[in-house]
């Protein structure tokens, strides 16, 4: 199998496993009223390590698996994770490149924005939502748990993706205007 196919395949397997583990195991681990989102952590790691295109594609694929497994509205989780994956990927390719704190910043911001986005999306779809419960009661412990798991998940993803090959990043910047 050519090298160009190995990497997307690795990412796909990683996202698939993370999605299954999230819907079957981690969604049921309630600590302090929140639960860890290992799927989002894996997505953040993939996007930071492999860029925005991988991030967006992985986010869409992950969302599709989650919505299918839960028999939920198809596309809702895909939309949220696609945007999150792309945005984190762009951050990793530009400002966050080679920054040690990038995974932590990305996880904290992505957790909050995905939760906020889900709140808005479900509200638009006519689902009854409680902003107080979601933003004040479950979001803080979720952010905390995600931050605690950021380092191990990031390190594991990095190892599984085998980062022997250098990441293709921008080598020069062209000023516009």
């Amino acid at each position: 199998m050519s090298v160009s196919l190995v990497e997307p395949l690795k990412v796909a397997v990683l996202v698939f496993v993370a999605s299954i583990l999230q819907v079957t195991i981690f969604s049921q681990i309630s600590i302090l009223g929140g639960y860890p989102d290992v799927l989002l952590l894996t997505l953040v790691a993939i996007a930071l390590l492999r860029g925005s295109i991988y991030g967006a594609a992985a986010g869409f694929f992950a969302g599709l698996i989650v919505d299918t497994a839960n028999l939920g509205t198809l596309g809702v989780t895909s939309l949220l994770l696609t945007i999150a994956g792309y945005w984190i990927g762009r951050y990793g390719e530009t400002t966050g490149r080679d920054r040690a704190h990038a995974p932590f910043v990305s996880v904290a911001v992505a957790t909050i924005l995905v939760q906020l986005g889900a709140l808005i999306l479900h509200y638009l779809l006519g689902d009854p939502v409680s902003a107080r419960t979601v933003l004040l009661e479950t979001l803080p412990p979720k952010v905390l748990l995600n931050l605690l798991l950021t380092l191990p998940v990031y390190a594991l993803t990095r190892w599984l993706l085998g980062l022997a090959r250098p990441v293709e990043t921008a080598t020069e910047v062209r000023l516009l205007g």
Partner: protein
């Protein structure tokens, strides 16, 4: 992004028998073995955690449960006598009633496979579907009490909307005082509220709340009467309120459901 928006739009607009729903059901069937596998791998770890977690509260819980057993033993003896009387009187009167729980239902015990990834969806996925006779709106329970109802069915899996979902409510009554009301989601996660109870009715803290199982004309509750829901943990009313403002502590631990029982009616009402 565009593809996601198209998926949302098509899925939202089509009926439950639409093409995308069919694809999703097929996808859920394909994912089912992986979910079962993940649950089996996680089971020993989950059990170990549950064992240690249970040890922490074991002593205080033991004392509370001993007191509860004494109280319930007395009630059980009284209930057996009352049940015998009721059965005798029903037979003498040729009483025609609603489907009764559990004798008029076939239990389908099944594993909980998935849980919705966000706090907006109080739903779980189970490992039994239409192939086991399950249909939409079938009640779902555990030995502790009412869990919710079936909201979506695929061939070998189904989605259960929990009682804590904002879209779900059940007609209920106080088993001691017969005060009737509506149990729905509470303020916090995994909490319930008892609403629409007339202020003239009596509601006491610690009373058990069970399903009412009403029938009004052609309308009847999807839940049979007598399924335990929880206990009244707090009740208050003011001059301005029309109804009691009561909280219910559910018997079911909605955060840690590993298996449930779907109640399939032995005789389904004709549409």
């Amino acid at each position: 992004m565009l593809l996601s928006l198209v998926l949302i739009t098509v899925y939202f607009r089509e009926s439950a028998s639409g093409g995308l729903h069919g694809v999703q059901s097929a996808g859920a069937t394909v994912l089912r073995p992986f979910e079962i596998g993940a649950n089996r791998v996680a089971a020993p770890f989950r059990d170990t955690y549950g064992w240690f977690s249970g040890l922490i509260h074991a002593k205080s819980e033991n004392a509370r449960l001993r007191a509860q057993v004494d109280k319930l033993r007395t009630e059980a003896i009284q209930n057996v006598n009352a049940a015998q009387q009721v059965n005798t009187l029903r037979a003498q009167l040729h009483y025609v009633g609603l489907p009764r729980f559990p004798q008029d239902y076939r239990p389908v015990p099944t594993d909980v496979l998935t849980r919705a990834p966000t706090d907006f969806e109080q739903q779980i996925g189970i490992a039994a579907g239409s192939s086991s006779g399950i249909r939409v709106n079938d009640p779902v329970v555990t030995p502790d009490g009412l869990v919710g109802k079936i909201s979506h069915v695929a061939g070998h899996s189904a989605q259960v909307t929990l009682l804590t979902d904002a879209n779900n409510a059940v007609a209920a009554l106080d088993a001691s005082t017969q005060a009737a009301g509506l149990v729905s989601h509470g303020e916090g996660p995994s909490t319930l509220a008892l609403d629409r109870v007339q202020k003239s009715a009596v509601l006491n803290e610690g009373d058990t709340v069970v399903t009412q199982g009403f029938k009004y004309g052609s309308l009847s509750s999807i839940y049979p009467a007598g399924i335990p829901i929880g206990i009244v943990s707090g009740a208050s009313n003011s001059e301005l309120d029309l109804y009691w403002n009561a909280q219910v502590a559910p018997f079911v631990h909605f955060d840690s459901l590993h298996s449930v029982i779907v109640l399939v009616p032995k005789r389904r009402p004709q549409p």
